[in-house]
């Protein structure tokens, strides 16, 4: 199980839930789990969010591995100047 923390952006999909656990070993699995559990969230995360796995930010990286017991933060994608 990995622990997912979702910011306010995602609450429209989670019904306000900020933390929950899902089963996932890659970012892609995580996204499909999110979609299954909260319809619309997986798609939203895929398009709009970056995923911090134990502190390291991954953007557009479906095959980044996720270890068991990892902590996942969903954060808005980051650009820059």
């Amino acid at each position: 199980m990995v622990h997912v923390i979702a910011p306010s952006d995602c609450h429209q999909f989670t019904g306000g839930l900020t933390e929950f656990d899902v089963e996932a070993d890659t970012v892609r699995r995580l996204i499909s789990e999110l979609e299954a559990r909260f319809p619309g969230l997986g798609d939203y995360v895929d398009r709009r969010m970056a995923i911090a796995i134990d502190g390291e930010i991954h953007q557009d990286a479906w095959f980044s591995p996720i270890r068991a017991n990892s902590e996942i933060y969903l954060i808005p994608k980051i650009g820059g100047g």
Binding site: D9, R47, E56, I57, H58, D60, G81
Partner: protein, 762 residues
């Protein structure tokens, strides 16, 4: 003064990385040979010009172009009607996401002009004078609408609404009527009420900033040529040729492979050249006229229709124990987005408290559309504005607590293992080291004279990685070409060549870096977000490593030993098999000369999507002196310390830091968009929009703190964004220390300061 402080994880035995060679494109740039956007011409090219709205908000009732078309020498006239209507679609280029429909409508207005300077028509003619005359002959009938530019006025329920389809996102309940508030975002932790209840000391402040422009000295420029078979070529100055290609294809409905974009040298961008303004118009004019079309903005157009970053209102409340431990923070950020949604308030919210470990906080951000140019990214987009408020409030808190401002920051500063306010847990960060570097720097303990003050402030930026491609080719004589797809804005060619040279074990002068057009190298995201040295650098190193592996394999074949009996040292293959009598090292030259007979050209390309960019922190100290007669602020001394991971070319890293500081000082003291009561920009030129000049600034001392990023081959972290984050507050805090009054409305121009000093004196 410039110091480099080696920290944990930095490789000790580097030969090229960390040195200061002359940049490979240097001679071109000091002799005037380098070709920037406006320096390129094509035979038979026409001059393209744009008609812009004189109104901040107006319905476009009709556009009559007949007279302009009839003028001899006019070859094309386009309006919004000549472009396809796009559906709302977010494009996630990895940079600030942009809605393609909005992007297209920003390039040329359709039914409404949304700001003074919004393009409404464009012409192409055989001369500049004829093009100007043609613009005069176009009749646009406007129905002028009430406008709104101030961010809080735009949020009020009775404000004129810019977009009838805009409903605030991010609220618990979707609103039933359209408004100018595009989005609310919130980040929260702990219990705010409890946190403030536990505080012994509370400070509060309201801070305001005005829109400021990136202020690159080179105006936007391009040449576009549409050929009859539908293939097109674009030469333009931008932060990313692939970005230009994608946006042109989308806006004009073209196939990506039909567009080739060649990057010109770019005369500064700072985020402002991460989007398109001219290129789609030039292509449309070229299609209609059958000629290449060149378009170059005037400085006035640059100010009125490109950039800027948001003006904002920032509310901050902080609570702390008497020992300085911060217990609670509440931050509210209201950012102008300009004519279309997409202010950098999201990043502002995420960075606002990123330097602090506070158990209870709430950060709320509002993205608000206004009748001003659509904001573009500007160096650490959103972060300097938030830091201005937070770092000013932290300064007030230190004063109220009677604590040294660096000590207060250290007590509450984030370190490895601490959860960032925006979520993830920090690793390999160098914030405390950076604070210590400023505490130890000579400036921090120099005595101050009368009317002088000292301010410190901290800043943070995430830095990003992303998609990059690099190719490394070894020529027959052993010299090397490195090809990437990232425009070089600040010396990145040098960094690319140095990293390739280090990996190959050859002198940097044997490696020539080139920047290719979109048809000649694989996709790369644009140069921005401080990603190039990190991500493209990673691609360069991996491509060079592939080349080394190939060289070792060929040497093993020649020596007839297994591949693992060959090592690559100092630019040559070395045989480890003692059974082979005296095999001399096989140099790159030797192997390159035999490449045809050992398997063909030696060359490798790597495309990747780099993850794991290391976040950066900066701490600045600024000393000022105020002239009590005029209120004029002189910056006496400035030292900026920053965790840079590993400086590949320290001079250019220092240069990034110094340049960011200068822009931040300008933002703090002078720069602002000024609009008249009709919403027209009043100061659209460098005379009235005053960016810092050489006599406004002292030397800017830098301290490069190196806490390596383990995800980069040499430990590099992004550098360019962080240094613009602290200066706004560092300057404001220095002025606070000099005059004893908190000034919270940027820019801190002489009349404002004098008014405060006069009020205090009487």
């Amino acid at each position: 003064m410039s110091d480099v402080l080696d920290g944990p994880g930095v490789q000790p035995d580097l030969k090229v990385v960390g040195t200061r060679p002359i940049r490979p494109d240097g001679a071109d740039k000091v002799t005037g040979r380098a070709a920037f956007g406006a320096d390129f011409n094509m035979p038979g090219q026409l001059v393209g010009k744009i008609l812009r709205s004189p109104h901040a908000h107006a319905k476009i009732v009709s556009i009559d172009t007949r007279k302009a078309r009839a003028l001899p020498g006019v070859k094309a006239v386009v309006t919004g009607a000549d472009f396809p209507n796009l559906a709302s679609e977010m494009h996630e280029g990895g940079e600030a996401a942009s809605n393609l429909r909005d992007l297209a409508m920003n390039v040329i207005a359709r039914d409404k002009a949304l700001y003074d300077g919004h393009a409404v028509a464009a012409v192409a003619a055989t001369s500049s004078a004829i093009a100007d005359e043609a613009l005069r002959l176009i009749t646009v009938t406007y129905e002028v609408l009430p406008h709104v530019i101030d961010v809080e006025a735009a949020m009020s329920p009775d404000a004129p609404v810019l977009h009838a389809h805009l409903f605030t996102e991010g609220l618990e309940v979707r609103p039933t009527s359209a408004s100018n508030v595009a989005r609310r975002n919130q980040i929260t932790r702990g219990d705010l009420a409890e946190g403030f209840a536990a505080a012994d000391v509370i400070v509060e402040g309201r801070y305001t900033t005005q829109a400021v422009h990136q202020g690159y000295i080179e105006p936007h420029a391009c040449v576009a040529a549409w050929v009859e078979d539908g293939q097109c070529d674009v030469w333009s100055s931008s932060q990313g040729q692939f970005m230009v290609r994608t946006y042109c294809a989308k806006i004009l409905g073209l196939e990506i492979s039909d567009i080739r974009v060649t990057p010109a040298e770019i005369g500064g961008g700072f985020g402002g050249k991460t989007t398109v303004y001219l290129e789609p118009l030039a292509l449309a004019l070229s299609r209609q006229s059958g000629h290449p079309v060149k378009m170059v903005m005037t400085r006035e157009e640059v100010f009125r229709a490109t950039g800027p970053t948001s003006g904002a209102v920032i509310l901050v409340k902080l609570g702390a124990k008497v020992d300085g431990t911060m217990t609670a923070a509440e931050v509210e950020l209201k950012y102008q987005a300009g004519a279309f949604p997409g202010s950098p308030v999201g990043a502002g919210s995420m960075t606002a408290l990123a330097c602090y470990d506070i158990p209870n906080f709430l950060i709320t951000g509002w993205d608000v559309v206004t009748n001003s140019p659509k904001v573009a990214a500007y160096r650490a987009p959103g972060a300097p504005i938030a830091a201005f408020g937070v770092e000013s409030a932290v300064d007030d808190l230190a004063r109220k607590l009677g604590m040294d401002p660096l000590a207060l920051r250290e007590r509450n500063g984030v370190r490895n293992g601490v959860k960032a306010a925006y979520g993830p847990t920090f690793q390999n960060i160098g914030y405390l080291e950076t604070l210590a570097a400023i505490k130890d720097c000579p400036q921090y303990s120099l005595p101050l004279g009368p009317n002088q003050g000292r301010g410190v402030a901290a800043g943070f930026w995430f830095n990003v990685g992303g998609e990059s491609t690099a190719a490394v080719h070894v020529n027959e004589d052993g010299s090397v070409v490195v090809v990437t797809g990232n425009p070089d804005i600040g010396g990145s060619r040098a960094a690319m060549a140095m990293m390739a040279a280090e990996t190959l074990g050859v002198p940097m002068q044997r490696v020539r870096p080139r920047i290719a057009d979109t048809a000649s190298i694989g996709f790369s995201m644009l140069t921005g977000g401080s990603r190039t040295t990190f991500a493209t650098g990673m691609a360069v190193v991996q491509a060079a490593e592939k080349v080394v592996a190939d060289l070792k394999r060929r040497a093993a074949l020649l020596w007839e030993v297994p591949a693992d009996k060959v090592e690559w040292r100092n630019g040559a293959a070395v045989c480890l098999d003692p059974a082979k009598a005296d095999p001399k090292p096989m140099t790159l030259e030797i192997l390159a000369g035999q490449s045809a007979r050992t398997g063909g050209p030696i060359s490798a390309q790597v495309s990747l999507n780099a993850q794991g960019a290391g976040p950066g922190f900066g701490v600045h100290v600024c000393d000022v002196e105020i002239d009590p007669e005029t209120g004029h602020v002189t910056v006496l001394r400035y030292t900026a310390a920053q965790d840079v991971g590993k400086a590949i070319h320290p001079s250019y890293v220092e240069g990034q830091v110094q340049g960011g500081v200068a822009q931040g000082v300008g933002w703090a003291l002078n720069e602002e968009y000024i609009f008249d009561s009709d919403g027209r920009m009043e100061n659209a030129g460098f005379l009235d929009y005053r960016v810092p000049v050489a006599s406004d600034l002292p030397m800017i001392d830098t301290i490069l703190v190196e806490v390596a990023n383990p995800r980069h081959p040499f430990g590099a972290k992004g550098v360019g964004e962080v240094p613009i984050v602290p200066p706004l507050a560092a300057v404001a805090n220095a002025i606070r220390s000099a005059i004893g009054v908190r000034m919270a409305d940027l820019p801190l121009s002489p009349p404002k300061i004098r008014a405060v000093m006069d009020a205090r004196a009487s």
